[in-house]
């Protein structure tokens, strides 16, 4: 069993370190850039995010090389700015200035969690209506999603949102 565990760990490390930096997972120090809208491609600042939502979609960017890590959709994250007092402790621990970041890939079938439900202030998947609470570590509150979204720890520096650590939780969904 031990041998098996070691070999699987090795595979995980190999899978998590692809050669293409644009496909590598978000890395501490990465900036985040807008996927959509007027500021598409620009670095996300706290002031760009509307307080209490909706969320914005972003990809991580290596600040040194300016490589945007958009070669895998699994790198797509959502950012939302909330009242820090509303955040559950484990969400607050990975937030900065009320900004929280989660994987934008629905845990049901991998669609974009790109929609916003203004009446209940929930994150909403575009395909099958799963809802997640951004204040409570993206816990599922409705729909077929089996699991909360992975959280991406962030910090801020001079108003710029910066990746503070790797994803916490599983990104993506299970197929067969």
């Amino acid at each position: 069993m031990l041998g098996l565990g070691v070999s699987w760990s090795f595979l995980d490390v190999a899978a998590a370190a692809p050669k293409d930096p644009a496909a590598a997972r978000p890395t501490p120090g990465d900036r985040l850039v807008f996927v959509l809208g007027d500021k598409k491609g620009q670095v996300v600042k706290v002031e760009d995010l509307t307080l209490e939502g909706p969320q914005e979609l972003a990809y991580p960017m290596d600040p040194a090389t300016k490589v945007v890590r958009d070669a895998s959709r699994l790198n797509q994250v959502l950012l939302i700015r909330l009242d820090p007092a509303e955040l559950a402790p484990d969400a607050r621990a990975n937030a900065a200035d009320g900004v929280v970041a989660y994987s934008a890939i629905c845990t049901h079938q991998g669609c974009d969690v790109s929609q916003w439900k203004p009446d209940t202030k929930m994150l909403l998947c575009v395909c099958h209506g799963s809802e997640y609470d951004p204040r409570d570590r993206a816990k599922v509150t409705f729909g077929p999603a089996p699991r909360r979204l992975a959280m991406l720890p962030v910090k801020t520096d001079g108003g710029v949102v910066i990746v503070a650590g790797p994803f916490k939780g599983k990104v993506g969904f299970m197929d067969l």
Partner: protein, 572 residues
């Protein structure tokens, strides 16, 4: 990337299964064009049983007198959750059935023993609105299935190993595929999904033996093509018109009839014009892909009323004359009687089979509707309409019984919707309908006495004969009718599989399965004994809609048990 793996069951069961596979390998009966044109009563060789799309089995051992003694004889878990929408195909005792994510199981149709299993690994960043699969196709000694990516895969029927693969399109641009291929004249015809992601739909054909591309016909004409002037500027490039259900084929006129889905984005004012061939049936030459004719059910679609189901090919009487015809219960809530000829499709008659408040009139010569403008949503124009975007019926199959001339429709009544459109930024592969999810409304009448509704129509009389109304469920079941006059249907949220009397609509038999049934039932024989088979596995739109209903109607379960099982039943 190596993306496929065939899993011979031999690895689990060692030598025992090798002998099973070898036995089937030796005895496998190739599926010829002639057999597809005249399938034997004991086999189920294509999605709807025959080219004409009847969902009819002439078998009559199981009849209204003995159906009460129908019991399960075997069941197999598929190992997959989500919506199972594929009919099992049967060729001389060997069954082939697909599951979500393009898994294919080959089973002994008599015992349920697994002969082989094909699984496919999706790219890690893949996603689709529906990960379902609506069935395989058979030809020669091969089994064909569409993979989501989208890709067409040919498997060896005897072993499940991959013979060839053909990439249909790039999934990063929103295309995917879930439909069952159609085999005509040695070609495999396939369609694509993606009408919510700004694709340009098409039907494509591949050589069944080699996988070489034969033709590709877009459902959205470009500038200079016939119908190209129904699209302003470059809206045709992302015009939708997905082709996500299997076509039907008429060996007489040698035409394939294929359904074309909604226009994209959803709001007609963003693409003024008729928007051919969205919300239409097109008639294709299967050898060349040339469009020989079309009929558009509603122009400038603004309701997400895909007309993706092909009409069924039926001759009927109308005004004292026999019409070589087509029948189509449309998603827009109308039942259409059409005519077919080598030159295309003609309009004969239409009447609504559920309440519909959008059409003001239908031209008696052309079938073209006029609209109540207040019920046509647009950009910045919120409007309500009935039925909702799921339509009078969605994709589940109606069935036609040639012995009685009856058409059985799995309908939904007493539901409406609203849409409030906007201009959305186009990003390849992203949702691009012109509406945010919270602005898609679904409403039901709390006073309604029923929602799901199996309807029986006398085709030549043009009249409804009976309804089987379902008080506490929508109807998501495809229908099978048989030579003994039975009607088999699942589709309800109570997980039941039922047999109705085709003459009266009376429920003669029911059985509670593992999950909800949204797959088409089939019938076949092995060693002279009749079986009924169906997959039970609730998911996709039925599940999504059930979730919405649980918020609207007290006592409706939020979730129905999930997980696929293939069932076979026989009379004991």
């Amino acid at each position: 990337m190596k993306a496929t793996k065939a899993l011979p069951i031999c690895t689990a069961l060692l030598g025992g299964c090798l002998s099973v596979a070898a036995a089937y390998g030796a005895g496998y009966t190739p599926v010829t064009d002639a057999r597809l044109a005249n399938p034997e009563p004991g086999n189920w060789l294509m999605t709807r049983g025959n080219y004409q799309g009847w969902s009819y089995s002439s078998l009559d051992q199981i009849n209204p007198g003995n159906v009460k003694r129908l019991v399960p004889v075997w069941a197999v878990s598929t190992g997959v959750t989500s919506g199972h929408q594929a009919p099992p195909l049967v060729n001389n005792g060997m069954m082939f059935v697909s599951t979500p994510s393009a898994q294919v199981l080959a089973l002994d149709a008599k015992t349920g023993n697994v002969i082989w299993r094909y699984k496919r690994e999706l790219p890690e960043d893949f996603s689709a609105l529906h990960n379902t699969n609506r069935g395989v196709a058979l030809h020669g000694d091969k089994v064909y299935v569409t993979g989501l990516e989208p890709v067409l895969i040919a498997l060896d029927a005897k072993t499940g190993s991959v013979v060839w693969e053909a990439k249909l399109e790039d999934y990063h641009t929103g295309y995917y595929s879930t439909m069952a291929p159609l085999i005509v004249n040695g070609k495999v015809l396939v369609g694509v999904s993606g009408g919510e992601f700004g694709v340009r739909g098409f039907v494509a054909a591949y050589d069944a033996e080699t996988g070489a591309p034969a033709w590709k016909t877009y459902t959205i004409p470009g500038p200079g093509d016939p119908g190209g002037n129904t699209w302003p500027s470059d809206t045709w490039k992302r015009g939708g018109g997905a082709t996500w259900m299997t076509g039907t084929y008429d060996p007489d006129t040698k035409l394939v009839f294929w359904g074309v889905g909604n226009a994209s984005p959803w709001f007609g004012d963003q693409r003024p014009g008729d928007n051919l061939y969205t919300a239409s049936t097109i008639a294709l030459d299967p050898n060349t892909g040339a469009i020989k004719g079309h009929f558009q059910y509603h122009w400038n679609d603004s309701w997400d009323w895909d007309e993706m189901n092909a009409p069924i090919v039926v001759d009927y009487k109308m005004g004292g004359k026999t019409v070589k015809g087509l029948l189509k219960p449309a998603r827009n809530g109308y039942l259409y009687w059409l005519s077919r000829s080598p030159s295309g499709i003609g309009f004969v008659h239409a009447t609504n089979y559920v309440k519909q408040d959008v059409f003001k009139s239908i031209d008696p010569n052309t079938g073209r509707p006029t609209y109540n403008d207040a019920n046509k949503p647009g950009t910045g124009k919120k409007a309500s309409f009935c039925p909702s975007l799921w339509g009078g019926k969605d994709w589940p199959f109606e069935a036609y019984n040639p012995k009685t001339g009856m058409l059985y429709i799995p309908a939904n009544e007493n539901h409406c919707g609203f849409l409030d459109g906007k201009v959305q930024e186009y990003v390849p592969g992203k949702w691009w309908t012109g509406v945010d999810i919270p602005d898609i409304g679904f409403t039901v009448s709390k006073d309604a006495t029923f929602f799901g509704d199996v309807q029986a129509w006398d085709v030549s009389a043009g009249a409804k004969v009976w309804d089987w109304k379902v008080p506490k469920s929508m109807m998501w079941g495809s229908i099978l009718t048989t030579g003994s006059g039975l009607v088999f249907v699942g589709g309800t949220n109570d997980r039941k599989f039922r047999a109705l009397d085709g003459k009266s609509g009376q429920v003669l038999w029911e059985f509670t399965t593992n999950s909800g049934i949204i797959a088409p039932p089939v019938s076949y024989t092995v060693d002279g004994k009749q079986y009924i088979a169906v997959a039970s596995g609730w998911g996709v739109d039925a599940q999504f809609q059930q979730g919405l209903l649980s918020n609207l109607l007290p006592g409706w379960d939020k979730s129905i048990p999930e997980g696929g099982v293939i069932w076979a039943f026989a009379v004991q």
